[in-house]
Symmetry: C2
Subunit: 407 residues, 2 copies
């Protein structure tokens, strides 16, 4: 099928379609892609704070509204923005149609408010592309087997875009955002931060999970699993952004940098638990209880046991802190300490897999600045350290220059 060959998927977030002028600007972006000879499918989020306003409205009616009805309610936000974008594209003289998640054939499971995409029946989208239409799909939503509307949870529109790109066998999926791409670190903290041209999925995953907010983790995981090439770029200019793709697609003659980025996260708190019995199953029980109430635990450190009592420290998102304390207070004979004056700094790079000594270098750089490390966690391509919140910018700057990432 010829028309399939040049399909690309573009995704625009809520700030990109925040008002009528922004919607018109997005329409120009879409038309530009169309004029470059692509069959264009667009996934779009709700305008600005629409979703928050709907949640607030429901909150005034019920303290804990049913998730099925919340999805019915919230999915309207993306339906509005997709229709308005279609109207803006038509106004500029181009064929266009908006489709709800249901009309776009996005079938999900039954988990309201946090549904997973099971399948996309692309017939309708292909039919519209054949008619030479731009197709604007309402992001963040789908339907379950009964035809009831579901939403995909956080980062849902990113996931919609990547899933559409996969189902349509699109050449790539462009994620439009408010920055020019993925940087070696936060340019607001380090002037010398450089934009990264290419990243592997693993690197993007580690960057996204340790602080870079350009794309949602879940969408990157989906892209990696289904081998969807991502292009993360700005909706405010035409500059080439950052490509995320499989390692093997990179030019092998290029020397891989040791690390590609430094990220930080000031949105977590450290919880320490003292007096836990040091026997098998205690940690499993503890973190099981937290998982039961949907609390994501990040770094975990368990110290050496003293007299059969263990101490465990972990970090959780600040917004989950009070719920975590509530859960932990039900456990007997333990003492809890909470430290909100912490921040996490991470270095990420596929190159560290084949270079020993990266962790040692990181610790040395921090030590030279007299920055104390409170917790450490590593993955094959990431090392994270928890430090005092007041020292975080200093730590980021030191690591960024210490690993030679500066311009």
């Amino acid at each position: 099928m010829r028309y399939k060959k040049n399909i690309i998927v573009l995704k625009f977030g809520g700030t990109s379609v925040g008002d009528k002028d922004k919607i018109k600007r997005v329409a120009d972006k879409v038309i530009k892609a169309r004029l470059e000879g692509n069959s264009v499918v667009v996934a779009v989020s709700a305008m600005g704070d629409t979703t928050d306003r709907l949640i607030e409205l429901a909150g005034k009616i019920a303290s804990s509204p049913s998730r099925r009805e919340m999805d019915m309610l919230m999915s309207t936000g993306e339906q509005v923005s997709s229709a308005l974008l279609a109207i803006a594209i038509q106004e500029k003289g181009y064929n266009c149609i908006s489709l709800s998640g249901q009309q776009a054939g996005i079938l999900t499971d039954d988990v309201y408010s946090n549904a997973k995409i099971l399948n996309i029946k692309v017939d309708r989208i292909l039919k519209e592309l054949k008619k030479d239409r731009v197709v604007v799909v309402a992001g963040f939503q789908g339907v379950n087997i009964d035809g009831d509307i579901t939403t995909l949870g956080r980062g849902g529109s990113d996931t919609t875009a990547v899933a559409l790109a996969s189902a349509l066998k699109a050449r790539y999926c462009e994620i439009y955002t408010d920055v020019d791409g993925v940087y070696s670190t936060d340019p607001n903290v380090v002037n010398e931060a450089i934009k990264l041209e290419t990243l592997s999925y693993d690197e993007m995953l580690e960057l996204a999970s340790s602080g870079a907010k350009v794309i949602h983790l879940r969408a990157v995981e989906f892209a990696r699993k289904h081998n969807v090439i991502l292009h993360i770029r700005s909706s405010f200019n035409d500059i080439e952004g950052t490509w995320v793709m499989d390692d093997y697609k990179k030019d092998e003659r290029m020397e891989r940098p040791l690390i590609t980025g430094v990220t930080y996260d000031i949105g977590e708190a450290k919880v320490s638990i003292f007096g836990l019995e040091d026997k098998p199953g205690v940690a499993a029980n503890l973190f099981g209880k937290l998982a039961d109430v949907d609390i994501d635990v990040d770094l975990i450190v368990q110290n050496v046991s003293e007299e059969n009592f263990a101490a465990i420290s972990f970090t959780v998102k600040n917004e989950d802190l009070s719920l975590a304390k509530e859960v932990l207070n039900k456990l007997r004979n333990i003492r809890i300490e909470v430290d909100t004056d912490i921040a996490k700094v991470s270095i990420v790079g596929a190159g560290m897999q084949t270079h020993p000594g990266v962790a040692a270098k990181m610790f040395k750089i921090l030590a030279e600045k007299d920055i104390n490390i409170e917790m450490i966690s590593t993955s094959p391509i990431r090392i994270s350290c928890v430090v005092k919140k007041s020292r975080i910018k200093e730590a980021v700057k030191a690591l960024h220059s210490g690993f030679g990432l500066a311009k």
Copy 2:
């Protein structure tokens, strides 16, 4: 099927669900109907001015947005209010589910923004009623055969309710509004106005078309055609409203009143055209051109022809006046006069069919008050007169007391 026997349909308009407190009050109404032993289906309009705001937003993006996309856009208003009402009903401890027009099985033709209901597949609604759930259906909307969202045009939610009542073989359909029912005339003008207990469909049609705004004409037509009993009542109290049903259901021993109501309309203008050629087809051509641009013409009067030139006067809604003038100005050799200082007063009553002299009595009552009649139009159960706008309240009062309608 037992559960079908006691189905009733309730309809709440946009002002009834205008904010969170009003939605909670509607939830109480619905639960009351549920507790009285009914299987309850609710049709609901968009909250307050939602539809107007969406139209305004689209208008800022395109001067004439496509109707298909406008329907996609506007249908979200009813989806929001239906989900919020379902949340409010659940919060009070009752089983409830909201359904979009599509989920409720409302199939329409392809005429975006003014679609007609072709069929309602009630399987899903019946399934939910069997589960002992209240079913809240988003009014004003359906889908065409391709699954694209359509809206039903003005009075759409009234039509949704009546069509649901018909398809579900409901006992009756309650239209909740901001008045206690249908009055013999506007209580704001005539203190002695009385609430009517029962009306025939024809009477309701004539009342609705000549000024009473409690229910949309189209919904009454649908109700008459499918024999759906209507109950028009207030959403602010529990007082019995006005029942609208077939003549034969009335108590035949009761003497039918000569007239049931006096209505008026100050939203029309009179257009007079002079110098038209007096030959066949001239009027057809004239009104055909107005119909082409969707202008509804109300009263039409053609005078005796003088020297082969005819004069035709008709009334149109004020909001259609400028478009009507535009159309008429393209016709050659005619002169147009517009009078916006007019109002229409009508008397309605199925009784007049069997009582001659009602028109004469109406003219006499107006003459006694020295109110000049500029145009006259009659139907089998209605007589309308156009008078000076400044005399309209006087005319309404005189007719209301002259025909003995006062308390």
